[in-house]
């Protein structure tokens, strides 16, 4: 508002002499004067001229000052148009009527020009104050609306990225407050090419957009690498390195990652900075805590980062439960936190696993006394591998330049086997062949089984019979990493043959390893009968490929995939 001291002042006064007197006083003070001889005229002049201030005689013919003041205040709306009543009335009740009608002040007749001037100045200050308040209120409202629009758009984009996975798979239950993303919470799940699943629950430090922003690259890396068949540890390393590079010091992501294999019925867990998750064994009712063993993602340099995971066998129906610290930090009016022991009480009281989420929510609401809004929980159930849809692989090219007639051999030796996972590399190569893409998942599963058999049983000489119970299972994976670290010779070879056929083609994969081999018929027989934690591998290979044959000495295996062109 310009700081022009000149005001336009409406004078409503039925007495012509008084009107002239006031007009001349006010004009001399430098203001512009508009006059009216009664209340009705005053309302009309107000509408026409929109004066800044009104001097209003209380008693006038046609329409008195009280009614005129009411109408003018109504028309002025939110803007403050000060009305000063001019009155010879002195009794209190009449003066109260002036204020009740919307008057802001009054001036007793006869007029004192010094007091009149002072009152006009004071009213002008009030008027400007009100105008400033309104202006700032509107500005804040506009900014707020702008911010909310931005958040809505950001959330829509975020949902597209974050929820492009398989959170809606039938074996996943999750609960995420609608705007938890702006609390920095992130929940991702994706099928691996093998049909297994990667799940991530993350919690970025801080609040609002800065906390949400790191979630985007994390989600992209998670989905991109999972789809290409990279392992959990490779994804962890990439995510950590990326967040370390792009986030400012002091911003990081507490996270738990799960790698669930439905074929092998195992779950691999990495927890860096989130509260304990729980593996719920349905048969015994036991809840195994999944403890944070690492610094959060984005804190350590890639060279210092630790990717060690814990591996747990799971039975059908067993569940893994993860939660963000929003659950434990839900506070009641006395600023006590919900905390771990109350959560464990809810666990202990739980009878039907499917009701656990509702029971936790009820407990939180009862504790806090109102609905909570900063909560992320997820539960993943071990189910039959075939009960879940296998993921369709997505490609950007149309596959018309598909290579059809070639062969390649690879030998991965000890130093490579120690730290390189050749599977994504081989899968990307094979999926250049358009006809193989429709069975990419099966292809990956078979390659993965062949590779881990060749590496673990062949090169490392591990005995899968160790995995007969949970303790042996842990021992198996302890020995695996021990032997791998000490490996100094040995190899795994892949021979790939692509053969065009009349209406399609055929892939032949031969895998050999440097191990001593095994007695093929014994192992196959044992696998057919055993219901142990081990060796679902060979039967899986037989089921998913079109042909599979083992060399008699058990040192080599050959599998075939063929396809018919989809014309």
């Amino acid at each position: 508002m310009p700081l022009d001291p000149r005001l336009s002042v409406l004078i409503a006064e039925d007495n012509a002499a008084d009107r002239m007197l006031l007009s001349s006083i006010i004009s001399r003070q430098g203001h512009r004067v508009i006059t009216a001889a009664n209340g009705l005229e005053a309302v009309a002049m107000f509408e026409q001229e929109r004066p800044d201030l009104v001097l209003m005689d209380a008693l006038m013919p046609v329409m008195d000052g009280f009614e005129a003041a009411r109408r003018i205040k109504l028309k002025a709306g939110e803007a403050l148009v000060p009305i000063i009543f001019l009155t010879s009335l002195t009794e209190g009740e009449a003066l109260v009527r002036c204020l009740d009608a919307g008057g802001d002040d009054f001036l007793a007749k006869p007029y004192n020009r010094v007091i009149l001037e002072a009152k006009i100045k004071a009213m002008d200050r009030l008027r400007r104050l009100q105008a400033t308040v309104l202006e700032q209120r509107d500005l804040i409202a506009r900014h707020n609306e702008h911010l909310l629009t931005e958040q809505r758009v950001a959330k829509a984009v975020f949902d597209k990225v974050a929820h492009s996975g398989c959170l809606n798979a039938p074996n996943i239950r999750y609960l995420q407050s609608p705007f938890a993303v702006f609390n920095g919470d992130l929940l991702l799940a994706a099928f691996k090419p093998s049909g297994g699943m990667h799940v991530l629950l993350g919690d970025f430090t801080g609040h609002g957009l800065p906390a949400a922003i790191g979630a985007m690259p994390l989600a992209e890396v998670f989905y991109g690498m999972t789809a290409k068949g990279y392992s959990l540890t490779e994804i962890l390393r990439e995510v950590n390195a990326k967040l370390k590079r792009i986030l400012p010091v002091g911003v990081f992501c507490c996270a738990t990652l799960l790698n669930i294999s439905f074929q092998r019925r195992v779950c691999e867990v990495w927890n860096g900075g989130l509260p304990d998750g729980y593996l719920h064994r349905i048969a015994t009712g036991e809840r195994l805590p999944l403890v944070s063993r690492h610094l959060p993602l984005g804190v350590l340099d890639p060279a210092d980062f630790k990717d060690a995971c814990e591996i747990y066998p799971m039975a059908l129906g067993d569940r893994v439960f993860l939660l963000s610290d929003g659950v434990l930090e839900t506070a009641n009016p006395a600023e006590q936190m919900f905390g771990e022991s109350r959560l464990l009480n809810v666990f202990a009281a739980n009878r039907q696993p499917d009701l656990l989420f509702d029971e936790i929510q009820q407990a939180l609401t009862a504790f806090r006394g109102e609905a909570h809004d900063d909560v992320s929980m997820v539960e993943v159930c071990m189910v039959e591998a075939d009960s879940l849809p296998r993921p369709a692989l997505a490609f950007v090219d149309n596959g018309h330049s598909s290579p059809l007639d070639w062969a390649a051999s690879f030998e991965f030796r000890a130093q490579t086997l120690k730290r390189f996972n050749p599977l994504p590399f081989l899968l990307q190569l094979l999926l250049e062949v358009h006809g193989l893409r429709f069975q990419g998942g099966a292809l990956y599963s078979v390659l993965a089984e062949l590779y881990s058999n060749a590496l673990e049983h062949g090169v490392l000489g591990l005995d899968s019979r160790l995995k007969c119970d949970a303790a042996g299972f842990a021992e198996y994976y302890r020995q695996r990493s021990l032997r791998l670290a000490e490996l100094d010779h040995g190899y795994v070879r892949f021979h790939l043959q692509l053969l065009p056929e009349a209406n399609g083609g055929r892939l032949v994969v031969k895998v050999e390893d440097s191990g001593p081999g095994f007695d093929v018929s014994t192992i196959l027989e044992r696998q057919r009968t055993a219901q142990s934690l081990s060796g679902r591998g060979l039967s899986l290979i037989r089921r998913l490929s079109d042909r599979s044959t083992w060399a008699d000495d058990g040192r080599g295996v050959s599998v075939e995939f063929s396809w018919i062109d989809q014309a």
Binding site: D203, T205, G206, H207, V249, G250, V251, F252, C254, G272, G273, L274, P275, S292, R293, H294, L295, P296, V299, D325, E329
Partner: protein
């Protein structure tokens, strides 16, 4: 909210005391406590004796202090941690970065 910092007589060590909640609201005060001192200490001591609560933003602030104090070469002790604070530091495995006493 009170965050105070006091250098040792020889200026080699700076002790930062945090009273009450250590969370995002104390962000600026915490930074000031080590940036606005006229000494360049070799060691930092963060005294959490009267700290009632610590959230993930506070962990971020500790990382900022660590960065300020020389990153991997920083010498920072977190002392007088109560059970709750110790638990939060343990979940994040901060003992790998700080000396927790």
């Amino acid at each position: 909210m009170a965050i105070t910092s006091l250098p040792s007589d020889d200026g080699q060590e700076l002790t930062i005391r945090i009273q009450g909640r250590f969370d995002f609201g104390t962000h600026q005060a915490f930074r000031d406590s080590y940036e606005r001192v006229n000494v360049t200490p070799k060691r930092y001591v963060v005294d959490l004796d009267h700290t009632t609560y610590l959230d993930s933003s506070a962990l971020g602030m500790l990382l900022l202090l660590r960065d300020h104090a020389g990153g991997d070469n920083a010498q920072i002790s977190l002392v007088n941690c109560n059970a709750d604070v110790r638990k939060i530091l343990a979940i994040s495995n901060f003992e790998q970065l700080f000396k927790i006493i």
